[in-house]
Symmetry: C2
Subunit: 355 residues, 2 copies
């Protein structure tokens, strides 16, 4: 029966038009909320829409318009709280403006990142929120530039000559971590990180070092950086502590510049039977829900996800709507949550300490 078939094929704007006894153009106007439609006709259209269950096909609609109401989001991964929250926020903000967010994970690969970007370009997305794997100088940003895409760079970036950037204020947060640690009389601190994330790591490291040295010129800061991946870092860290054990020198605190580093540090402490904060203190950049329920609770730098997402979208939509002007570089303030994993050295005897 014709009725049943109509159920299968979705009603198009023409179905509505003929049912309402007007043209497709008028239906289009009603759907778009254009005021110049005779109220009576508008009502007929609305009735037909209601009856048929008609909904505009956003893709067909975009096809005709200039730009598509789609925002692309590219994150290095989806598995962590930080990027999960970020995607969730971005989705919500895009939706509020009538855009759809299409998110993709580069899985920490710059090659994939570029591929995804190319695909998003194929989709003719209106704009892109890119959280690059490495930094703002990677091939993905170059691709965006070369193809005149509009976009915003977030997280592992500082500033760029072509795109607006939004990221956590790593340097200030790290300075505060330094203040806290120095204030608690730590004078030998190990900082661990991933060299790949050059800009960010540098900001965090420099921010930390500058403040620590200013407050305590005699402080010793060791640095263990792995280039690309977490596993090498684990090995390097093990090696570092092995050497330290022999020489009788061991840092009293560790500052991890990224989340996985915090996990690696914890697991290395476990292996050695060290407990926080008695044997060693620990602070990590990037907070997670579990950090406040473990024993000890893990001190962490909380990144302002909502602010980053919010300002990124704000900047992006401004550009989409044609705003000119040099790219801006925003830094959003973090919160440092000092929890039980940080103590003062010497307050409690180190178990198994040879000094």
């Amino acid at each position: 029966m014709a009725h049943r078939q109509a159920q299968q094929r979705r009603p198009s704007i023409h179905d509505v038009a003929s049912r309402a006894g007007v043209s497709a153009a008028t239906v289009s106007k009603v759907m778009a909320g254009v005021a110049t439609v005779k109220p009576e006709n508008a009502q007929r259209v609305l009735d037909a829409v209601e009856h048929l269950g008609y909904r505009v096909d956003p893709l067909a609609s975009d096809m005709r318009r200039a730009k598509r109401r789609i925002i692309g989001a590219i994150m290095p991964e989806f598995e962590s709280e930080f990027f999960g929250q970020m995607v969730s926020q971005l989705e919500s903000l895009a939706e509020q403006r009538g855009y759809t967010l299409v998110a993709a994970s580069s899985r920490e690969s710059e090659a994939r990142e570029k591929e995804i970007l190319a695909r998003m370009h194929d989709w003719r997305v209106a704009g892109v929120v890119l959280a690059p794997v490495r930094n703002e100088h990677g091939p993905a940003a170059a691709f965006m530039k070369a193809n005149g895409m509009t976009g915003v760079l977030i997280d592992r970036v500082l500033s760029d000559d072509a795109f607006d950037t939004v990221s956590a204020d790593s340097a200030s947060a790290s300075a505060e971590v330094a203040r806290e640690l120095i204030g608690k009389r730590h004078r030998h601190i190990l900082v661990i990180g991933l060299g790949e994330q050059a800009a960010t790591v540098r900001a965090r490291l420099d921010g930390f070092r500058a403040t620590a040295l200013k407050l305590a010129p005699d402080v010793r800061i060791d640095v263990v950086l792995a280039e690309t991946d977490v596993e090498p870092l684990r090995a390097q860290l093990r090696d570092y502590f092995d050497r330290g054990e022999g020489g009788g020198e061991r840092p009293t605190a560790v500052y991890s510049l990224f989340l996985k580093g915090t996990l690696v540090a914890l697991s290395e402490f476990r292996r050695r039977g060290w407990h926080c904060p008695n044997d060693i203190s620990l602070v990590g950049f990037d907070d997670a829900e579990w950090m406040q329920v473990t024993w000890p609770a893990i001190a962490a730098v909380v990144q302002p996800v909502r602010q980053i997402a919010g300002h990124a979208m704000e900047a992006l939509f401004a550009r989409i709507e044609g705003e000119e002007g040099p790219p801006t570089a925003r830094l959003e303030p973090c919160k440092v949550l000092m929890r039980e994993s940080v103590g003062s050295p010497g307050n409690v005897p180190h178990s198994g300490d040879r000094q």
Copy 2:
């Protein structure tokens, strides 16, 4: 200059066609890999494509075809490892088949879930992977049914009369947890969960209870279920322990049926100064990276994310390609990781125990 403008507007199939001296139809065939094109012409097209940097617009392409090569994925949240991994997997699998995954978070709201579904229907997605907030009987699945959408239900589902389902084998995993706990001589166990996730919670609870009672008929199993949200559960749990303290009765182990419950339990233990496993044992459904680096490491049921994602996509594409037949209901086996948070009661004196 004309050249610069050409940079702005992406080359269309017609640009390629005229440069190659053939028609758009021929270009289309070459791009689609149709064999009936004279090799010489095909080469000219390829050269033009190369020169112009032409890429097919997938949306325009889908516009003309019947179905769009887009898969929708709806998850209750993006913030947890489980769903993060799930989206990542699904994206990868969709991509392998030349589809794009559009993921959205229902943020644990059934209302939003249905809205998202409607939007995906507007997009005319080829199929949907839905991880419902509650279970397979929610309004979202009903919407899918009513609109003849093709889809697969995952995670918080058992089976459905209209859609294929894929989920973790909660019952078997819970039975194994029961075996472990009973084997370690626990005879008073608290199970906590969220009532909302009816089917899953029931499967986990029943699987646990049946096996526990079979192995130890004298076992006492208390159950604390909050209906909708995590905070009420926290309150109920606190209340439960308060009552227990007075009566001198306290479970020796807690089995949390979902991840946030595990966090709530841990934080409640903290508040009371109880340590695992000496004061109480803990196992949680759902594993997370941090659980193996904390002290104690937290025992957990590991859900087979890859298998769930893999079989979900398999089933979905089979349906998309027209496979008929009654809906299937898959259960994927879990792994139970017994870690340090589980011990035997009485082995070590309970600190602060009044018994």
